[in-house]
Symmetry: none
Subunit: 403 residues, 2 copies
C-alpha cells in the first residue's frame, strides 16, 4: 500500500500551521579548501543552532540511494508525491517554469530553435545557441501563429535557443512523440500520435511546425524548430485533496511557483530578500495551514561552485529566521529539495539534511543543523516522500492507524 | 518502478574504475570475551582507519531487517539485484559452486545420497553423512550414466553426501518438483512436470533416478539418491547490459566465481593470498571497469566461531591494501555480502558495514571502518541492492533523473 492510500483514512484537520523552508540544493559535501567543512558546517548559524538543539534531525533521499534528482522530482518528493510514479512532463515543467498558466487538457511542448540544411536535415540542434534576445525576436515572429484548426497557440521564449509552445483547445491529447530526433544529420521527425485520441493533436503540431518553418525560412542560423516533452498537466491530487491543507507558496522563481500551482497552492507575494519571504509568511500566517517558502540562492551557489556564496545565503536565512519565529508555526521544517555540492557544480545524489521542530518532534542529540549532525538525528535516513507525513504527524493531523 | 527501470535511462559510460572488496561475512557483533569489541573493532587496521576518515560509511541490509541471507542473496544484493525477485535455483548455485559450466537451457539439480530400506522408503536422507571420499567413488559409479534419451548427464561430487547432476540437451525445462520428500519414512517422490513443457525433463530425471538406483543397489548406506532445487541458469541482465560495465571477478571459491560468471564477469586469476588478489587487480586494472575482489576467510572464521582468525584475516586485508591503492580506483567500496558473527557460528541478519571512497563521496564523521562507526556514517542504513547505484553515482556514471 502506498503512502497515499494509508494517509487517506488518517488525515484530520485542526488549526495547526506548518511551514517548510526549502533551501534549494542545500545538501553539500566537505571541501578541503574550506577547513574540510560543508557550507552548513562552515556557516555561522546561531539561530539554527538553537533550533537544532530543540528539534529532530535526519536526512532524506529524493528518489533512492545514488540517484540525482532534477528540480521536479526533488520538489515532488518533499511534497509527498512519489517521483517515480508522478511524472511531470518536460513541456509542462518548462511552461509553468516560464509562468504560463496551464489548464487540464492544454498541451505543452519544450522547443528548440535549430539549424536545418538545404535538404531539411538538422545541422545544429541548438541553432548555434542563439542569444536570448534573438530568441525573443524569433518567438515574436512565431506568435503570428495564433490559432490552428480552432486550437489556440501560445509561444513563449526561454533562455538561449529554448522556448515553449502551449496548445489550448478541446480534444487535445499529449500522447505524441518528440519531433527532435536527438541527433544531427537527420530531418526533424513528424509528430505522430501514440494512440488514436492524439491524432488531432499530432496534426495540429505538424501544421504548427510547417508554418513555423515558413516563417523562419529566411532566418540564419535559426531556420527550424524541434519539439520535445509534449505533455499535459498531470492529474494529481493537490494539497487540499491529499492533505486537507490550505497551502500557499512563497517562491519567486517561476519553476517552483509552477510546481506549487500544479499542486493547488496559492501563490503569495515573494519579494527578492529572505526577510521579505519570511515577512510574507507573517502577513498571511492566519490565512493558510501550510507554507512552502522557497529560497533559490543555495542551489545557484552550488551549481556555480561558489562555496562562500552558499555559506552567505545560509547565514542570511539564519539571520532572517527570527522574523519567521515571531509567529512560530506548530511545525517547522528546514531542508532542501536535493543536494548541490559546490565542488560538483551540479545537483547530486547525497541525502538532504532536514530539521523538524514541533512540540512533539522528539529532540535528538544533533546540536547543529549540518549534514553530519543530521546523520545522527532521530529521523534517520528516509525517502523524501515521507517528509509530509512526518510534518502532518507533528501537527497532530493524523489519526492512529489500526486499532 | 524498480531500480532497474530507473537506471536504464540514466547510465552513461566514462573511464572510471570501480573496485568492490568483499570480505565475506564481514559484519559481526561485540564479543564479551574480546573487550566487548567486534573483530573490526578489535583488529589493528591503520590503512582502513585512514581510508575511513576520507570516506563515507554506512550499513546495508541484504534482504530486509531481520532476514539472514544465504551467499546467493547476499551477493545478488551487493551486485544490485533484488534478492526477492532474482532467484538463483539451488541446483544452479551448487553447480556453479562446483565449477561446472552452465549454459542457458541446461538443468541442474542438487542431490543427496540417501539410505533406502527394503520397501524403498527413506531411512536416512543423508546416508549417514558419508565422507567426501566415498561420495567421489559413488559419483564415479553414477558417471557411467552418460546420456538419457539424447540428454547429456554430468555428475559432480560435492562435500559429504552432496552432489550435483546437470542435464544438457534440447527442450529441457526446470519446472520439475523435488524428488526429496524432506522426511524419512517416505519413498522418494517421482519427478513430476509442473507444466506441459517440462514433461520430457521429468521423464529424463525419473530414468536417471532409476538407473542410479540400479547402479547403487549393492551399496550401503548410500543405496539411493534424492534430487532438489531443479533449476536453470536465470535470465538476468549481466553487468554489461545492466550497468554498461566491463566487469571482472577476482575470487578463488567456486561459488563466487560461479555467481560472477552468471552475471557476465570475466574470471581473473585468484591466487591464495590477499596480496595475490590485489596484485591481480593491479595487473588487470586497465582492462576492466569494475572489479569484484572476494575474500573468503572472514566468513569461514565467523562460521567456525574463530574470533581471532577473523581479526587476523581483516588485518591481512588491511596490510595488503596499499597494493590495491597503488592504482587507486575512482570508486573503492569495502564491505561484506552479509554478517557472520563468530559468536553465532553462522550467517546473520545484522546489517553489513560498508565504506565508499571517491572524490565526491561526501566524507562523514566515521573515523574507523567498524560496524558502530558505520552507524553514524553518511550512507545510513540501506538495502544492499542500492550499493551498486551508489558506486555508479560516485563514479559519475549516472545522469540526473528528471528535469
Amino acid at each position: 500500500m502506498g503512502t497515499d492510500n494509508i494517509l487517506e483514512g488518517l488525515i484530520k484537520e485542526n488549526n495547526s500551521k506548518i511551514a517548510m523552508v526549502v533551501m534549494d540544493g542545500l545538501g553539500d559535501i566537505r571541501s578541503p579548501e574550506f577547513e574540510n567543512k560543508t557550507p552548513l558546517e562552515y556557516a555561522t548559524t546561531p539561530n539554527m543552532d538553537v533550533l537544532a538543539k530543540e528539534s529532530v534531525c535526519g536526512r532524506h533521499m529524493p528518489v533512492m540511494p545514488g540517484i540525482t534528482p532534477g528540480s521536479g522530482p526533488g520538489h515532488l518528493g518533499i511534497f509527498g508525491y512519489n517521483p517515480l510514479e508522478v511524472i511531470i512532463g518536460r513541456g509542462v515543467l518548462e511552461a509553468v517554469g516560464l509562468g504560463l498558466e496551464l489548464k487540464h487538457g492544454d498541451v505543452a511542448a519544450r522547443a528548440n530553435f535549430a539549424t536545418l540544411d538545404g535538404d531539411g536535415k538538422i545541422c545544429d540542434r541548438r541553432a548555434g545557441r542563439i542569444p536570448t534576445e534573438k530568441n525573443k525576436e524569433l518567438c515574436g515572429i512565431l506568435s503570428q501563429i495564433k490559432e490552428i484548426d480552432g486550437v489556440e497557440v501560445i509561444v513563449e521564449p526561454g533562455k538561449g535557443h529554448r522556448f515553449v509552445v502551449v496548445f489550448k483547445g478541446d480534444n487535445l491529447n499529449p500522447a505524441v512523440n518528440d519531433t527532435d530526433p536527438q541527433h544531427e544529420g537527420y530531418a526533424p521527425l513528424r509528430a505522430k500520435a501514440q494512440k488514436e485520441e492524439a491524432a488531432f493533436t499530432a496534426d495540429v503540431i505538424n501544421k504548427f511546425v510547417e508554418r513555423a518553418r515558413t516563417l523562419l525560412q529566411e532566418q540564419q542560423p535559426a531556420n527550424g524548430i524541434l519539439l520535445r516533452g509534449i505533455s499535459s498537466r498531470p492529474k494529481i491530487p493537490g494539497f487540499k485533496e491529499k492533505y486537507k491543507l490550505e497551502a500557499a507558496a512563497i517562491a519567486s522563481y517561476p519553476m517552483y511557483r509552477g510546481i506549487a500551482d500544479l499542486l493547488g497552492m496559492a501563490l503569495l507575494p515573494a519579494p527578492d530578500t529572505i526577510e521579505g519571504l519570511f515577512n510574507t509568511y507573517i502577513e498571511y500566517n492566519n490565512k493558510y495551514d501550510f507554507f512552502f517558502i522557497h529560497i533559490k540562492g543555495t542551489d545557484q551557489a552550488g551549481e556555480d561552485g561558489e562555496f562562500l556564496t552558499k555559506v552567505s545565503v545560509i547565514e542570511k536565512v539564519d539571520s532572517a529566521l527570527p522574523i519567521l519565529l515571531k509567529k512560530k508555526p506548530n511545525v517547522l521544517a528546514i531542508t532542501g529539495d536535493h543536494s548541490s555540492p559546490c565542488s560538483m557544480y551540479s545537483h547530486s545524489w547525497h541525502p538532504v539534511p532536514v530539521l523538524v521542530n514541533s512540540q512533539f518532534c522528539g529532540i535528538d542529540d544533533a546540536v547543529r543543523f549540518t549534514e553530519n549532525q543530521c546523520n545522527i538525528g532521530g529521523l534517520g535516513l528516509f525517502e523524501s516522500r515521507h517528509l509530509m507525513t512526518l510534518l502532518l504527524a507533528n501537527a497532530l493531523r493524523l489519526d492512529k492507524y489500526g486499532a
